[in-house]
Amino acid sequence: MAEVRYVQATRLYPGTDAPAVDALDLDVHDGEFMVLVGPSGSGKTTALRMLAGLEEVDSGAVYIGDRDVSDAPPKERDVSMVFQNYALYPYLTVAANIGFPLRIAKVKKAERDKRVKEVATLLGLSEYLERKPGQLSGGQRQRVAMGRAIVRVPSVFLMDEPLSNLDAKLRVQMRADIAALQADFGITTVYVTHDQAEAMTLGHRVAVLHEGHLQQCGPPRELYERPANVFVAGFIGSPAMNLCTVPVSNGAASFGGVDMPLPQSVVANGRTSLVIGVRPESLEVAEEGIPAKVDVVEDVGADAFVFCSTELGGETTKLVARSEARKAPRQGDRVTLRPRADEALLFDPASGERLEL
């Protein structure tokens, strides 16, 4: 068990100008489940591979516990990793796959067999031990990969989008299994995903990356309610938060004709415009408000998301509102949308940073 620290860690791939990971500062506490999330090319997998020792650290440092492991080869880091495609050796049985790290570590055969059996029992793989990976389903392969990672009881557990090849139902189930396993073992875990549902449900804390930069790191609820900037606000939450640049006059922001009073701290420095962020659930279909035309209605069961177009400041703007499915308008309807002023977030239009109210 160990804590993990990235200190100004940077990775610049040869032949590129922009670092894939740029001066990353991140602390992962002992026993914590940290999720790295971001869109493609955000540097999350690179950051994970730097921790595993599969990518070089070009500047800065990576620590596991008190030890600077920036130059240590993977085998000296005491980490184990689950890969996106599981990387199970096709020529080995399930038992041999799970026992592989122990074999490399020269653990005696009797002890090895015992640990493999324990792990197989834990993961419900006992009856498949003599099969080859090719004879297993996707979910079973995933569990074998997990088994190979935990059999050694490493200091840090790394997972690189381990659920992305599973179907939706299995993914939800495995998500719960991974959370339970991590809680049982209490091993510090760094988990990479692009799926924000995974990030929000699994992570004790979530680190959002974008273009190699850490945008924000915090508990899932904090990311959702108090995003640090426009990127995090737009990335976390599905459908995404409505973000509109609106003019400011007389101490209020005018959001499609609806005046939203602003606190003194925001108005004080003479801003003439602001980015206003409203989550779909904070934008309701009401009697009066912003006039809009319904483009699409997505019925997701109890709720429906109403995707609309409206004119804001002379430009067509897309807005999403949440509504009760039974009361949802229909495609082509003219509606009015009312933002809840107290739930709106405000961002500086130049820096994109959220303004404290």
Binding site: R49, A52, G53, L54, P73, P74, K75, V79, S80, M81, F83, Q84, N85, A87, Y89, P90, Y91, F100, P101, I104, A105, R148, R152, L158
Partner: protein
């Protein structure tokens, strides 16, 4: 809870394709098989000629007779009396086996380094391998001969075997292409699980690359087994080091030509190659298709 009634499965009645489609399929099948039969005859005819002549008496051989009468199996015994076939076969096996082992052992690490380890100048090194591949062997024959002569090794099997222990451009190329297709995740997983590069090569890559390694070994074995030029160059003056191919050629010219015995000897020399190919056909074809390389 009510259960839906399960429909009783009925016997599947297969739909018959229309007559025009059936006719077209039949004609296509006839055309395909005709082509294959013609090709098979073209390839098998010389082989059949050798086999039949090997069973004739000396008088019948190369006469108007096509069918041996009587079948003279004694030819295969006589061959061994007239020529040291065992000696030649032993030399051939020493040459083919040691050269093949050398090619495999020396080419694998080079191919791995050229495909899976990142280092400065890797592409340049691979370029050099490609150049070596394109260089006609004849170009280097004279300087190599001079070198072996100075080392006093001409006349033995050394000059034939030793160069194979320093890698073979074609094998390195073929293995490298195959190693490139192994997903990086397998190697990364092994690295994280505690393997160094040599260990990865031995425990992961070799297992995953078996078809390609088998193909390389087969190519090398067949090439050296059939090799005539280099054994002729280096061992011509020393009959105790002759390989089968040289022996066979000399057998024809040294004695008064007995075609039936010559063909019996030819058949014996061809047999191992044919047997090896039949046994390892799958590995051979797999190796070639997997790497996208033609032999």
């Amino acid at each position: 809870m009510s259960t839906a009634s399960v429909p009783v499965p009925t016997a599947l009645t297969r739909r018959k394709p229309p007559a025009s489609v059936r006719r077209r399929r039949f004609l296509m099948a006839v055309a395909n098989h005709s082509m294959l039969i013609v090709a098979a005859v073209v390839f098998l005819a010389p082989f059949g000629f050798i086999a039949l002549t090997a069973l004739m008496t000396n008088g019948q051989a190369l006469s108007s007779h096509l069918w041996p009468n009587p079948f003279r199996w004694q030819n295969f015994v006589d061959v061994f009396h007239q020529a040291p076939i065992f000696r030649w076969a032993l030399n051939t096996m020493i040459y083919a086996c040691l050269a093949t082992l050398g090619v495999v052992v020396s080419s694998i690490p080079v191919a791995y380094a050229l495909s899976r380890i990142r280092w400065r100048g890797r592409n340049l090194a691979f370029g050099l391998v490609l150049i070596a591949l394109m260089l006609p062997p004849v170009v280097s024959v004279v300087p190599l001969y001079v070198m072996w002569a100075k080392l006093g090794l001409v006349g033995g099997l050394g000059p034939l075997i030793i160069p194979n222990w320093f890698g073979d451009a074609f094998s390195i190329f073929l293995l490298r292409q195959f190693f490139m297709t192994i997903p990086e995740e397998y190697l990364d997983a092994a690295r994280v699980d505690g393997c160094g590069e040599l260990r990865i090569l031995a425990t992961v890559v070799l297992r995953l690359a078996k078809p390609a390694i088998a193909a390389v070994a087969l190519f090398s074995f067949l090439y050296t087994f059939n090799d005539f030029f280099l054994p002729l160059l280096y061992t011509r003056e020393n009959p105790s080091r002759w390989v089968l191919q040289i022996g066979l050629s000399e057998f024809r010219s040294l004695h008064q030509v007995q075609w039936n015995l010559t063909m019996a000897a030819t058949l014996l020399v061809m047999a191992p190659v044919i047997i090896v190919f039949f046994l390892a056909q799958k590995a051979f074809v797999e190796g070639v298709t997997l790497t996208g390389v033609k032999g």
